[in-house]
């Protein structure tokens, strides 16, 4: 019997060992993006835009061209790149501080213009890179270094539901929320990410996939307990599923 390769590193990932903390799901999301680029044959024509956040060094792990944006501005860079070269596949990879706080204006207007690039939005309910401060997506009551008594919704409001917010825009787009806290969810997340790139490949529409992710380090939980925390705390507030499809009536 000859040996057959049944599982390997996607071509769109480099061999470099990531700097992500043990148990952090950034790595899983990287892989899903890379598999999608491979399967759709897009790697050689792709330009990624890195955020400011834990994924700022994503360009070391993706085997494609990359630009590194100022904090929150990735959708504006992506707009410039895609308008300059519509033949390129352009995606941003952004955390919740980057996309949902400092970069809200750039997000909403890129989506509203229907820019034909893809946003991979990693929602881990906290600022990871700067050491665990409150994000716009931090859960009610969640303790962070800048909400030591837990997020007080009377003072700072409720967590921002980005996918639903973007889905209210009339301009056609593809918006879905997925999670990577279990193998079944990972498979579904892969489907959504691939779909987003497929729509871009067709020149169809703006696409955003919000991925619920973990930050064991700043949540103060083990990797396993973090996965459970996503299920128990984030899923009820951040319902998974398709929020908007380009097939929807305008």
């Amino acid at each position: 019997m000859t040996a057959a390769t049944i599982f390997q590193r996607p071509q769109s990932l480099t061999e470099r060992i990531t700097h992500y903390c043990p148990g952090c799901t950034h790595g899983v999301i990287h892989r899903l993006v890379a598999e999608s680029l491979d399967e759709l044959g897009l790697r050689e024509s792709t330009v990624g835009i890195a955020p400011v956040g834990c994924a700022v060094l994503a360009y070391h792990y993706f085997a494609c061209d990359f630009q590194e944006a100022p904090h929150g501005r990735a959708p504006a860079l992506a707009t410039g790149a895609k308008r300059a070269r519509p033949d390129l596949t352009v995606f941003t990879y952004q955390g919740d501080g980057d996309l949902a706080s400092i970069g809200t204006a750039e997000l909403i207007h890129a989506a509203n213009r229907g820019e034909k690039f893809t946003i991979i939005f990693v929602n881990n309910a906290i600022y990871g890179m700067t050491g665990g401060q409150m994000a716009p997506t931090t859960m009610p009551g969640q303790v962070t270094s800048t909400s030591p008594a837990g997020r007080d919704v009377d003072q700072v409001g409720y967590p921002l539901r980005v996918a639903e917010l973007v889905a209210t825009l009339r301009t056609p787009s593809y918006v879905e929320r997925v999670s990577v806290h279990s193998p079944g969810h990972i498979i579904d997340a892969k489907r959504a990410i691939r779909q987003a790139f497929a729509y871009q490949k067709e020149g169809r529409c703006f696409s955003l996939v919000e991925v619920l992710s973990t930050c064991p380090t700043n949540w103060g939980l083990t990797p396993l307990a973090s996965l459970k925390w996503v299920e128990e705390n984030m899923l009820p507030y951040y319902p998974l599923g398709l929020k908007k499809s380009p097939e929807d009536e305008v």
């Binding site: 050689e44 330009v47 494609c64 061209d65 630009q67 707009t79 300059a84 390129l88």
Partner: protein, 366 residues
């Protein structure tokens, strides 16, 4: 090509097209919105991209993405808008990208006013954004020169992979003058093998400004410094108007102020007075050597600006030792008439003006 009568702001837009630029991203602000309005019509005619951004923050970051993807790209704005762009200008300088900025300066600080000013000299030449970087800054004094500078700006931006700013004021933007657009001899942009346009078989291209390793960041800083050294050596531009003669008063002014000063100087020279002018054309790199040499032949120097005194600091540290430096400025959108400047020159000539450096020193001593 025949001369065409055009408004400064529209001529600036057409000059960018003549330079081969097809990607313009901007946000409206007086007194330069006509650039956007002109290009909203004109870009589609040449299959170009015109995009009104949601803010100057976004516009400048769109330039970032477009320049990184290898195309010529530019924006136009005015002072408050440039302040918002300053974040990305710093990143663009750090990432070594060719981008062209037009700043039609208006009075500040804050919302200030909408009338002409030269009060953003510090911002343009000394920073604006954070970090060790420089813009190459050009200061046109006529509409034709604005056209020439816009075209030159694209070449210089590509040559140095550095952001370049053309800084005018509302007078340049609003003036109607005959202009000519060179059509022949416009060089094609150089190849950009560093651009992020998909790997297509080559190793990864990366556009970034983050260097966590101190030695790597220092290497980037030194690379930038080497470019600025080269600019200071090769790109200094200025106009000498009788400044190579012995003068009793050497006027130093740039942009539209130099133009008004010239009228005053002609009048006084007609009366036999020995007045000359040195007009910096590149504000960074500043014509330090030219100022030193011209001021060594002068009895006194008078700096004229539409500000309370910004470029005058560069004149002070460039000028020949011992020469008195005077300053005359108007702000708020007030523009001196040639007679106002003539009066100031005469005061200096007759020893009735107090040199600028004496004020703080005398106060310190008391």
């Amino acid at each position: 090509m025949a001369k065409k009568l055009m408004k400064g702001n529209e001529a600036i837009g057409e000059a960018a097209i003549a330079a081969g630029c097809r990607h313009y991203f901007a946000y409206p602000i007086t007194p330069q919105t006509e650039v956007a309005e002109y290009l909203a019509r004109r870009m589609p005619e040449v299959d170009g991209v015109f995009l009104q951004a949601e803010s100057e923050v976004a516009a400048s970051n769109m330039l970032f993405g477009a320049a990184a993807a290898g195309v010529r790209t530019f924006t136009s704005s005015s002072s408050p808008g440039i302040s918002l762009m300053s974040e990305s200008i710093s990143y663009i300088a750090g990432a070594q990208l060719p981008v062209v900025y037009i700043n039609i300066v208006r009075g500040g600080p804050g919302l200030g006013g909408i009338l002409p000013a030269q009060s953003d000299y510090f911002q343009a030449c000394k920073g604006g954004g954070h970090g060790d970087y420089h813009l190459l800054v050009l200061g046109p004094s006529t509409v034709q020169e604005a056209v020439d500078h816009v075209m030159l700006a694209f070449d210089l931006a590509d040559k140095y992979r550095n952001p370049v700013m053309v800084m005018g004021d509302g007078m340049i933007g609003q003036m109607m003058e005959p202009v000519e657009f060179p059509t022949e001899g416009v060089a094609a942009p150089p190849p950009k093998p560093w651009a992020t346009v998909g790997m297509r078989g080559r190793p990864q291209n990366l556009i970034r400004s983050l260097y966590l390793d101190p030695d790597e960041l220092e290497r980037n800083n030194l690379e930038l410094r080497a470019k600025y050294d080269a600019m200071e050596r090769d790109e200094v531009r200025f106009e000498s108007y009788h400044a190579d003669e012995e003068t009793d008063v050497l006027v130093v002014a740039y942009g539209t102020m130099a133009r008004i000063a010239k009228t005053a100087i002609d009048e006084l020279r007609g009366q036999g007075k020995r007045i000359g002018m040195l007009r910096p054309i590149t504000l960074y790199p500043f014509p330090r050597v030219a100022i030193r040499e011209a001021s060594s032949r002068a009895r006194a120097v008078l700096v004229v600006e539409l500000s309370t005194g910004q470029m005058v600091e560069d004149v002070e540290w460039s000028a020949a030792e011992g020469v008195d430096i005077h300053f005359f400025g108007k702000t708020g959108g007030n523009i001196p008439a040639p007679e106002d400047i003539g009066d100031e020159i005469t005061k200096v000539l007759e020893g009735r003006a107090r040199p600028r450096t004496m004020v703080p020193l005398a106060e310190e001593a008391s």
